[in-house]
Symmetry: C2
Subunit: 316 residues, 2 copies
């Protein structure tokens, strides 16, 4: 098995939005990509997806030797994984499909090669049940579009071997990703749990006639969404507390956790949870004072708004 | 009562992070600002908050005549609202405090002047109970920092008169805000309900040792948070469906609404909810095709990442 920085050929299984996004990402990073999808128009679909992504990838800067010509769409799964040093599976989100497909990939892929699933929320333990070599199966969960959003969440199942989780984490970092390696099999991982809570609250509001689709989107794009590329939800609230930071914020806004501001019940704000939030924010802030963080946030919000405005003007 | 575009003097009550942010915003827009807070060091605190905000506001461009010298901190509430043509209340989030303070403001403010509360989630109906002139009391809920985040949610209570909601909505637009005028008194309004659902899920994960503060923040800043300044959660998922848009997305990922990806139960995905989401996305997208939206998103994500990176480098 090659080291993560020695990989030259990857296989991408699945030609949907996520599978196509991975193909574009790996091509832009200079890899040879072997792809397969059972759909008869897989080659055409992948071609269109890569074409749509290429201007953005060119703008970002292609790796040496990167070319759309390095994509080969193969007629069978077995041919696609032949010679691959890493496999990314991006099939539809259906447990039975994933189980069978991962078993087929594991049967065909060269020995010792890590196989990662793009699943949005299944645990690897429930997906690896049919595979003959489950030790090399991991979750490698990207965000749409995989060629631009850095985050990949990596997690193993009960039968996954530790080296595979480690290898996949190092490989994704090698290809420019921000990796969160998880110790446990949390359904939906971390980012999708956060996003899904927000999404379900949005669906409830539309279902109840409390807000429209457009109001919901505006509430995010012109509201808290402007802060989230620079500071996540915890650091954002660290600043809402002023000079007192997260400690002041929890002591001040703690009671709102009892308020019916969402249909999701909050956990009990124990002393320990409060301290974990405060300590976590202080660790994350590191050397940056509250004033530094405020200045950083303000500069970023202005720049983000300008960036979004410019990108909209180019479109229209 | 002046028209929204004739206002020259506003009163800001409260010298915390939000109150100070409003002071900075109105000063930058060229208003004379009269402020009051019961704290003995209110003048010093407001001075520091305005000072911290001023570089960003200067960068954005100050209105003609804008000056920090246009701030007057008064020793009493009655003096602060004297001559004001609009009042923004930003007291601590405590219902008893809000009730009494809004009654005091209503008793002292010039006749016919609109009084808006920055409350994060109380309904105006429950806050206006003590006021002698409740008809002019509205919620005007900003986001931190109020001098940079455009969103303001405007809502009246049962005793608020329609003209006051209308006047406040027009006034906020006049001073550069994105306004969502709500027809109902939804606790937490729209943006805070979305944000609060995400926040409570985050607290549960920390409380259960499922994720750290830093993992949660990274999951957002390097994941879905990069998409939210350009497309809100609905339009984001419209693109996750590929050429099929929201319709394909709901048909494909609908089953995940039953999955334990968050502690928040989803509503039933009825035909009507599905159609409301699909129609809402199509209305919002307007003339923009899926390909246009993908191109817009990709350009924006690249620009947003560059903007955030540049703002971080300036800090360190």
């Amino acid at each position: 098995m090659p080291e993560p920085d020695e990989v030259t050929t990857v296989a991408c299984i699945g030609a949907g939005v996520i599978g196509g996004g991975w193909v574009a990402h790996f091509l832009a990073k200079g890899f040879r990509v072997r792809a397969w999808d059972p759909a008869p128009d897989a080659e055409r679909r992948l071609g269109r997806l890569v074409e749509a992504a290429w201007p953005a990838l060119t703008e970002l800067g292609l790796a040496e030797g990167a070319s759309r010509d390095n994509l080969t769409v193969l007629p069978t799964l077995a041919e696609a994984v032949e010679g691959a040093e890493f496999v990314q599976e991006s099939a539809p989100e259906d447990l039975a499909v994933k189980r069978t497909l991962l078993a087929d990939i594991a049967a065909a892929a060269p020995e010792g090669v890590v196989i990662a699933s793009s699943t949005s929320g299944y645990g690897m333990s429930e997906m690896q049940t049919e595979a003959a070599t489950p030790g090399r199966l991991v979750v490698g969960h990207p965000f749409n579009p995989p060629y631009l959003i850095p985050l990949v969440e990596v997690a193993g199942g009960t039968r996954t071997e530790a080296w595979a989780v480690d290898w996949a984490s190092r490989f994704y970092r090698q290809v420019g990703k921000t990796v969160i390696t998880m110790d446990n099999e949390l359904p939906g991982f971390i980012a999708n749990r956060l996003q899904e809570a927000l999404w379900r609250e949005a669906l409830h509001m539309v279902a109840n006639g409390e807000a429209t689709v457009e109001q919901i989107d505006t509430a995010i794009t012109d509201g808290p969404g402007l802060r989230w590329p620079v500071h996540g939800p915890c650091l954002t609230f660290h600043l809402a507390g002023g000079e007192g930071g997260m400690a002041h914020m929890l002591d001040h806004f703690g009671p709102s956790l009892k308020a019916p501001w969402t249909r999701l019940e909050a956990p009990e704000l124990t002393r320990r949870l409060r301290d974990d939030m405060v300590d976590g924010c202080e660790t994350e802030a590191g050397e940056r004072s509250i004033a530094d963080l405020v200045a950083e946030r303000d500069r970023a919000i202005i720049a983000v708004q300008r960036a979004v405005r410019a990108s909209r003007e180019t479109t229209s």
